[in-house]
Subunit: 502 residues, 2 copies
């Protein structure tokens, strides 16, 4: 067994060190389990694996609440053990995705800034029963030092009757000091969140607990299983270049400070490529106020262009993780990890004026965005933090490739098959083809700009034809649609394997 | 001519008093005109009427930016003169509605809290060129005392090169002192909005201007043309009773304080009926943190149940207006009018924890809401402030009658024909049939609750049949839909005049 006593600096707590199996045994069927973890970073591993083992012999289900997506040792293991009744608020795991798209797991995705308060309000079916939190260490006073993410951990610990801490020896002790933990009071007692700059610190470097609050401590040495990022391809490079051109023009026209405003960038390869592309940009003195800190941001720090990054999770690729650990003492000066209700706070996104950059699955000609559903029915991951930032940013940009599936899917469609972000929240759409700036445009004006600048040439004539016939049929209604044809591109794809008319 | 010199307390400004025609003559084609006015309250009347007259002889167009909807002397007169190129952010005028639904006016609706900052950022096609503001009076220092609404007036005055003030003698001087004017700085210099209770005051009782800022002053004695409210019918009474039952249960379960949390209530008859219904409720010590202060809230004040109301506009019915004017000194102690970027601030809605109550045109079985479009294409009014509150409230409720058009339209549909509020933003749906509490439910669970509790019996079997076939066809996908049938209820109504299958 791994010796974690030097990391449990509160000696009184040594008596609470137990095996993962012993800790998992406290969990009862139907409990709400709130865990650390945001993207495959900082999630508990040993206790969930032990719980999944227990479920194999003694089938039962729990409700799993996390920060966002977590790794296979938690989502995968419990889904394979058929041990999850309800799951929220975001996921990227194959087993979970399959289960929630076949009626086996009840899943609901939420704006990530909403999760902690909704659980505290008791709105999601009771409070958190058990919190399972990954830690680097436990302080002399019995407080919990988190690892590579903060997510909802602090709020879950506050609410839970049972708190299990997994001290993970694979997580470097240098992570201590990187966190800024602040849990707002709930209405009617809530005050302003006193952050006015991305690098302001307002809380504690640990999750307040104390020896009386912690039920069990478990040792773990399994590392975060991070995911490799796709290589930066030509399309991603083109989008990144379009972004720089667009922002340069905003600066030139006095609509954007020269140092820009704090950048928020979604998760994934396109977002990462866009950030990495900024290394070649003319900007310096940049700041990020975002959710997830990915490889591209380390590139920007190394290039001396990024002064500070605020997030809730460190999610480098496997290569990026090595690089981060090797330079943690330096990176620590320029990074803070906050609870997701702070990192993603609408109040702060609007006050700081973030440039909100997120990825769409599809966008329609009137600038509605689908971030979650494949062909309107199958959940991909979840809305994540995109709504927290897109609604409240200074400038809101969505990226998507103009086509998918070798050109058989147009990402620009007449009507989105599912809508996560409405026309009221979108300023700019960028594909590899160009930039559609839809600020201050009526729906019909937007449609022409989006078709012209963003659609793939194979689909442009079809989109324009749809728009013109819809205008004629509806007498130039505010949002011209042919309702019996609006979703026909999707049904054609389902039937024939392509959105193109053969 | 009406003598307004006693209301223009800054003597130096008497020289700037001109006729409406003289003031209107300064407006040039293509200018962005920003006016006071929010709902038919506090909008300028004399100058727009003069401008419309001028346009009849000398056709040209301007862009019209307001707080929200305004009266016929502004929207109606300019639309009839074919004088509006672009219009934002909200309207309720027949002539405007007709024009924007026939390609004659380019209209875009925005979250009302976003409007002022978007114009200051220069995102909507230049800055405000001319501000036209209705005033009760001008102070000794040359500052502007607004009338029955505040809207975007303060920000428009700040930005505009030309400021025209309409001093309206029909507006009682007792309105002075009711306003709290605060315009936030823009990023990167913005700070927290320092309001922590509905009745906090943080600004000035006037719009800062000064003699140098004001270009012209015009006299006006035309009163606000307010609209009568529909009589409170049985359906509205039923919704109001459902709300009280629901809230009582929340209090009983410890999810809501006994005094509730600040109430936000949308515009219109249903919203008004719901507020009026609270007179019969067990609650007292209530507060409103809302957009529009309607008759129902005066009822609550008179009944001693409402301690304070914060809004941006006073919009009583014609009868309510008389009653308000008669008791203005008393009401003034319990009412504050704020700029709409404060009254509707997401930061404040979330901090104070408002109970957000708004009206839907239609709701789908997965809890998406259409607030704006009739049959997906024709704009009714606009999104208004519903998104500001619904996304950020403590508890978000949408009301709708289960059917419209004598039962030929079901307000509960398989898929909304336009989406303004997504599944991520809705907690509760109330029709005259009952209450669907969808918090913490997966889409398929939501569908069953909404059909069961909210749908009209005539449509329940059809909705359930759709859901079950969609589940089977998609293999119980996360959001089961039959895309070739999802909008068929709307197309059937368009073709046959009813959503029922004959």
């Amino acid at each position: 067994m791994i010796d974690i006593r030097d990391r449990v600096r509160c000696k009184e707590l040594h008596a609470k060190i137990v095996s993962a199996e012993e800790a998992a045994a406290i969990i009862k069927p139907g409990m709400n389990i709130g865990t650390s973890g945001f993207t495959p970073a900082g999630y508990p591993k040993a206790v969930p694996l032990a719980l999944a083992e227990r479920m194999k012999n003694e089938p039962f289900k729990i409700n799993l609440w996390t920060g966002a997506s977590v790794g296979g040792e938690l989502d995968g293991a419990l889904a394979q053990a058929d041990g999850i009744h309800k799951r929220m608020p975001y996921q990227t795991n194959d087993a979970i995705r399959k289960a929630l798209n076949s009626g086996k797991i009840e899943y609901f995705d939420l704006h990530l800034s909403h999760v902690a308060q909704m659980t505290r309000y008791g709105f999601l079916g009771g409070k958190v029963d058990v919190a399972i939190i990954e830690a680097c260490a436990i302080t002399e006073e019995g407080h919990i030092v988190p690892t590579t993410s903060l997510g909802n951990s602090a709020s879950f610990v506050q609410s839970a009757d049972i708190v299990i801490v997994e001290v993970n020896t694979s997580q470097p002790l240098e992570l201590e000091g990187m966190h800024d933990v602040y849990v707002p009071l709930d209405p009617p007692n809530r005050g302003p969140i006193p952050i006015v700059k991305a690098d302001d610190r307002i809380g504690t470097p640990y999750i307040e607990a104390g020896p009386g609050k912690i039920t069990y401590i478990v040792a773990c040495d399994l590392p975060d299983v991070t995911r490799p990022l796709a290589a930066i391809d030509d399309d991603a490079k083109a989008m990144s270049a379009h972004l720089t051109d667009f922002l340069n023009n905003e600066i030139k026209n006095g609509r954007m400070p020269k140092k820009l405003l704090p950048l928020q960038s979604g998760v994934g390869s396109v977002a990462n490529a866009v950030m990495a592309g900024m290394v070649e940009s003319p900007y310096s003195g940049l700041q990020c106020f975002t959710e997830v800190i990915q490889d591209g941001m380390f590139d920007l720090i190394d290039a001396g262009k990024l002064d500070f990054a605020s997030g809730t999770s460190l999610t480098p690729s496997p290569d990026g993780l090595k690089r981060m650990y090797a330079n943690l003492k330096e990176y620590r000066k320029k990074i803070v990890l906050r609870p997701q209700e702070i990192s993603n706070s609408p109040e702060l996104a609007r006050r700081l004026g973030v440039i909100a950059m997120n990825t769409a699955i599809e966008v329609d000609i009137f600038a509605h965005v689908n971030s979650t559903h494949i062909m309107g029915t199958k959940m991909m991951n979840g809305i994540g933090g995109s709504g927290d930032f897109a609604r409240n940013g200074y400038l809101t940009i969505f990226f998507t490739n103009s086509v998918a599936k070798n050109g058989d899917i147009s990402s620009i469609v007449p009507m989105c098959s599912h809508i996560d972000h409405t026309e009221h929240d979108i300023d700019v759409i960028i594909t590899e083809r160009g930039v559609a700036d839809v600020r201050g445009l009526s729906p019909r004006e937007r449609a022409r700009v989006i078709i012209d600048k963003c659609a793939h040439p194979d689909y442009k004539p079809m989109l324009l034809d749809y728009l013109e016939r819809a205008e004629k049929t509806t007498g130039f209604a505010h949002t011209p649609h042919l309702l019996d044809e609006a979703l026909s591109w999707h049904t054609r794809f389902i039937k024939t394997g392509t959105m193109k008319v053969k």
